[in-house]
């Protein structure tokens, strides 16, 4: 079993908080797509693994034309064993979506969309420097439903300084009323060296308030659970049966291929990143070389990653799986670290699963760090 991630490094407008790799000049789109096709051919490794998930991320994959997307998907089908039932997700921004395009996407086999809604309020969207407005957001949901997409996700950001609690509550209830099958929701994070980071340092924008973010997150958890959503990962909520299979594979350590500038991949041993520069990527691919750096994920790193990612999921750390993967000795050591979180009411150990309580979810990082094994 394996997945495929394709990075489409183009955006119409740069959101201030964003630290993904993308370019707002779209000229190299064709060249990048061609290079991605080439990279898929150049890639060796276990291409016979059945591919269960494909994910077009970015950047903004909805900026690709139908032809471009078809070429890539076509190439993947030629080079890989894409399973019949594969989940094929495309990230799309509301300002790109129209009925024809959505129709094309569905026809070419894309069966899941992830829409960058972020908020149903214009003041939020402006503050974030998003390319779309609130009504485009609402409209896009209608359009994709019209094209027959029932499996889709929207992103919602909370905790920006302009997002009042009331506004946030309203955003959440809109999502619930719209019966959105999957919601990825996360606190606005000021990543180092982003435009937002600079603006805050220059006092042009207010900083986020971690206490307010905590309150909004707590509200989110309560409201979503009350509305029948499963809170299956720290930032992910879904109606029954609508989990993101692709993201879940990341958290389970399933290997995946990655194509495109800035794309990452994991083969079970190495995590790799392609170079984050469109011209350099194109040039190198045209010379027949995949330009990537890699990190060897040692058993200890793998263990720590498993702790970190699984703690974020609802079932938490699976002790049986842990023992099978990392051995009895490590399990013993791991268990010695459980006590504090349990006494604090932040975690529960039940049926060989160690998982976070609602309160614990607010402290997932600290709890994971405490359980880490030293290199």
């Amino acid at each position: 079993m394996a997945g495929i991630y394709i990075h489409i490094p183009f955006c119409r407008k740069a959101c201030h908080y964003c630290n993904f790799f993308f370019s707002t000049t779209l000229q190299l789109k064709n060249e990048v797509v061609d290079a991605i096709l080439r990279e898929i051919e150049l890639t060796t490794g276990r291409k016979t693994e059945p591919i269960e998930t494909i994910y077009f991320g970015g950047g903004t994959p909805s900026l690709l034309t139908t032809e471009q997307l078809k070429k890539i998907l076509g190439k993947l089908h030629v080079e890989f064993m894409v399973s019949e039932s594969a989940e094929i997700t495309l990230e799309a921004n509301p300002d790109d979506i129209n009925a024809f395009l959505a129709e094309d996407w569905r026809r070419m086999g894309i069966n899941r969309l992830s829409i960058g809604i972020q908020s149903f309020y214009d003041n939020d969207l402006e503050w974030m420097n998003r390319a779309h407005n609130a009504s485009q957001g609402l409209n896009s949901i209608e359009l994709i439903r019209g094209a027959g997409f029932e499996n889709f996700s929207i992103d919602l950001i909370f905790g920006a300084p302009v997002t009042s609690m009331d506004q946030w509550k309203d955003n959440v209830s809109k999502a619930v009323q719209l019966n959105i099958p999957h919601i990825s929701s996360y606190a606005l994070t000021v990543e180092p060296d982003t435009a937002l980071d600079k603006m805050i340092r220059q006092k042009k924008k207010m900083n986020t308030d971690p206490d307010e973010q905590a309150k909004q997150y707590e509200y989110l958890m309560d409201a979503m659970t009350a509305a029948g959503y499963e809170h299956y990962e720290i930032s992910s909520f879904s109606l029954p049966g609508m989990h993101s299979r692709h993201n879940s594979s990341y958290w389970k350590g399933v290997p995946y291929f990655g194509f495109g500038p800035g794309a990452h991949s994991f083969d079970g041993q190495q995590r790799k990143w392609n170079i984050s520069s469109n011209p350099a990527y194109i040039k190198s691919i045209n010379e027949g070389k995949i330009p990537s750096a890699s990190e060897l994920i040692t058993p200890i790193k793998r263990m720590n990653e498993y702790i970190m990612t699984s703690l974020r999921t609802a079932p938490g750390i699976d002790l049986q799986f842990f023992t099978e993967s990392f051995g009895e000795e490590n399990l013993k050591q791991l268990q010695t670290g459980f006590k504090t979180a349990i006494t604090n009411g932040h975690a529960i150990l039940n049926n060989d699963q160690f998982f976070l309580t609602k309160e614990g979810k607010l402290f997932a990082d600290g709890i994971a760090a405490d359980l880490f094994f030293p290199e």
Partner: protein, 596 residues
Amino acid sequence: MKNIRNFCIIAHIDHGKSTLADRLLQATNTISERDMMDQVLDDMDLEREKGITIKSHAIQINYKYKNGEDYTLNLIDTPGHVDFSYEVSRALAACEGALLLVDATQGIQAQTISNLYLAIENDLEIIPVINKIDMDGAMIEEVTDQIIELIGCKKEDILLASGRAGIGITEILEGIVERIPSPKGNPEAPLQALIFDCVFNPFRGIIVYYRIVNGSIRKNEKIKFVSTDQEYDADEVGILKLKMQQTQIVDCGNVGYLITGIKNAKEVKVGDTIISAANPAEAIQGFEEVKPMVFAGIFPVVTDDFEELRDCMEKLQLNDASLTFELETSQALGFGFRCGFLGLLHMEIIQERLEREFDQTVITTVPNVSFVAYTTRGEKINVNNPTEMPDPTQMDRIEEPFIKAQIITKPEYIGNIMTLCLGKRGILINQSYLTQTRVELIFEMPLTEIVFDFYDKLKSQTRGYASFDYHPLEYRESDIVKMDILLNSEKVDALSALIHRSRAQEFGRKLCEKLKELLPRQQFQIAIQAAIGAKIVARENISAMRKDVTAKCYGGDISRKRKLLEKQKEGKKRMRQIGNVEVPQEAFLAVLKLDD
């Protein structure tokens, strides 16, 4: 021996000693053009970064005097900052003469005077040099008068120079040969060499620097140190050029080095005498013991590293004879050392050197001066550490050290200086005009008031136009109290401070505020309290952290996020647990970061 001259360069800080040394080395081709750089003798990274000399540095010069005779000149460049005055006093013991530099734009300053007195006490021949005469603001006439006044020399005895522009270098070299006496000593007598410095070298063991007073030292000869009476082979001897230079013999009157392969720091002591094993002589007089001015605790960041830290402290002490330390235990920090320093800069340098040269990250605690307490039972207790302070109910009285402060400044700053010193519990003793534009103020002040931020304040209050020196006076009775810091009601011994009652309240308030900034939020509220005895004088709260989780965690984020958490864990390991509160390393020095 008649062609050897041993001399050092002494002056107030920044008057240009190391720069002048550069020119002397260049003029005599001691250092090749390729190896030359500004202040070449300041070879420690810290010296270069801070632009000041920290260690004395000896180097040998071969000089052809104008009559064609060859001379060996042993030069020692010394530091100017007060905190390193012990370096100066030991260098003086290896010399017969001193160049006393005075910056032509600054005139005589406080440490010019104190270093001059040190040199006179050691019977050195003084060659006064007015330096930096290339500068626009040079006041040659005025400074000449000041020097004549101070040392009672003749006008012709004063040399004019510029280390930067290379003026007066020949005159200085000739002056050294003509005016400084050659070393006395008997080359035929049994060996006696005074150790004035050492350094630990991980490959070669301990390298000893000495001045031969009598006899000579030969490669492979058997030698002993008087204080330990242990015998060693002189595996290597030589003289000090920019690097060490091996020789077969180091003669009477000369300065040299010795390597015996000793690795144990305890076996060598600065101030000890090297003698011949076959023909042992007496010890010669060593150095006065250093008298530390401030004390602070140094603890390993990770408790298990205590033994390693001890080893490193011993090795560092070889190269810094002014560092003293003894074992200390703290409830909060475990095993560590109570160290004595000559000042806060010295303390900072020690911490930095431990980190850079020995890879030891340490926690340094609140510094304090040494008090003397008398109990109701008539006992006298030296209080170098707040924990040694007797309980108030058992205390008869407590005394604190006073100093005599000498400040030289311009008349327009008298007002500011008065405000500053009186605010620091100073008593004005004397005010006198040295010249029309220079005034000397003498205060008696508690030492504790000057070790912290006094020097910085003085500089900012006078735009740098004040120099300052001090000398210990007696202990005087005083109202000193112990201020404790409590974190969630748990007393943190390592944060206690000894302070005058009149200052305690404000100090407590600021310290609590600073700690509030420095302590990371935790999952519960933290109460920070300052208390004198049972009385709480200040309080701050750190509200509970409500969230410690980052938003997304997709494929590409996993490595980055794992690294962040690894760092978070590493950071936690470096914190100390006090009750349920985690305290980072820098919080223990919060007291030095208080703003006004």
